[in-house]
Symmetry: C2
Subunit: 247 residues, 2 copies
């Protein structure tokens, strides 16, 4: 499985993804699920993927290939005029990859070729936008009512996002929130694992250089993971006692 | 869907189940998923079910019918000598119901007849035991390493159980913990809903009378649900700030 979250903030976008990929439980590897394309001063496009690894790698390769010379296809994601058009291109390419696999003759498989994508970024002159793209190629956009998207193993880490998300939060608090959400997921499910990749995109910066990888020995991650266990116990104890007599 | 938790404590067993049942999103009803059989001074057996409602109701009806005169089948769950034998009976009955449905001619369905069961209780002279019974009829037992079982929509409510469960906790704290776990689930997923049923079984009491139903206007539930939102935010703020510079 996989766990990725893309989040809109008042000041920008924040992305985080795990790196675990597995085929069964005895074939585990690390793979980067976050990909960024930049045209300096014009656009930053970030994509995170969950699902069949062959599908998601083909998707990223095709999007990259088609935006490069000499065989550039226009419009590529590097030229599309709006983020909405980028989302359409990503959706069309994703559907194309899945259909190509499913249409093939030869060896059949029970496992599906599906994949889901979180896509975010900004093109000059327009605000940043965040989308979730489905295997069918259609997509939805984040809004104030629906300010973040999760893909993959989404359930364990959702309650804390629902409770603590605030669009006004700083990048530091957003990182903290995402680390708690990822930590809750990793504590409960082996198919999501460290290291984690993150990217902070500041509105109107057209700069994707604020990214990094969080490994087991990242001191902040350790502090937050250990601290959260204690903090949640304290929170639990601070609740009023249940009183059977007063029912 | 459904959410049920059965938990072993040093002093007994605690059970909680929601009551929502749905076929699609436009056919929602309330149904009790917790069933208890008692032989005073000899045994208490409690069962919670998740899955196809026709299957789980047939299971409960068969278990009840077969333990009643005049056509009592021995051993029924009221006569089985150990909780292990009760679990076998429940498993066999569950498999029988599922197979009977799947073997039928006539209208076919895509939805499955599966169901999963949490079974707990105590028979005189032996300690309380807790089992999870699978649709195949086999079952696993709780242990100190694996002290609680969840069935149904289990993921949202698991992180808090993993973090805050303690076998020494009081019944009051166990109720608080379960309410937080259920509240986290209900905040994230419409297929789990109030009211909640609970039962507290005290070791060697052979008495199942400590049970009740928690509705929307239960003041403790309201306090815990509202309080948890604030408590978890405070917990979140108490964590050390993420510091990008010190990475």
């Amino acid at each position: 499985m996989t766990y990725c979250v893309g989040m809109t903030l008042k000041n920008g976008l924040v992305f985080m993804s795990d790196t675990r990929t597995n085929a069964g439980v005895d074939d585990i590897a690390s793979v980067k699920k976050m990909h960024t394309w930049t045209v300096e001063g014009d656009r930053v496009i970030t994509l995170m993927t969950a699902g069949n690894l062959a599908t998601t790698q083909a998707l990223v390769s095709l999007l990259s290939e088609r935006s490069m010379k000499p065989k550039k296809r226009d419009p590529s994601i590097m030229k599309a005029p709006t983020m909405f058009q980028v989302a359409r291109l990503v959706g069309d390419t994703l559907r194309e990859v899945i259909q190509a696999n499913e249409g093939k003759k030869g060896q059949r498989t029970d496992s599906v070729f599906n994949a889901t994508v979180i896509l975010g970024g900004q093109i000059k002159g327009m605000p940043p936008r965040l989308f979730m793209v489905y295997p069918e190629g259609n997509f939805i956009e984040a809004s104030t009512d629906n300010p973040f998207f999760q893909i993959g193993e989404t359930k364990y880490g959702k309650p804390i996002l629902v409770r603590a998300y605030d669009p006004e939060m700083s990048y530091e608090d957003a990182m903290k929130l995402l680390l708690v959400s990822f930590d809750s997921t990793m504590k409960a499910n082996l198919s999501v694992g460290l290291p984690l990749d993150y990217e902070i995109y500041e509105t109107d910066s057209y700069d994707a250089s604020r990214h990094g990888r969080i490994t087991t020995d990242n001191p902040h991650y350790r502090q937050i993971s250990d601290g959260w266990g204690d903090a949640i116990k304290t929170a639990f104890l601070s609740l009023p006692d249940y009183n059977f007599d007063a029912e």
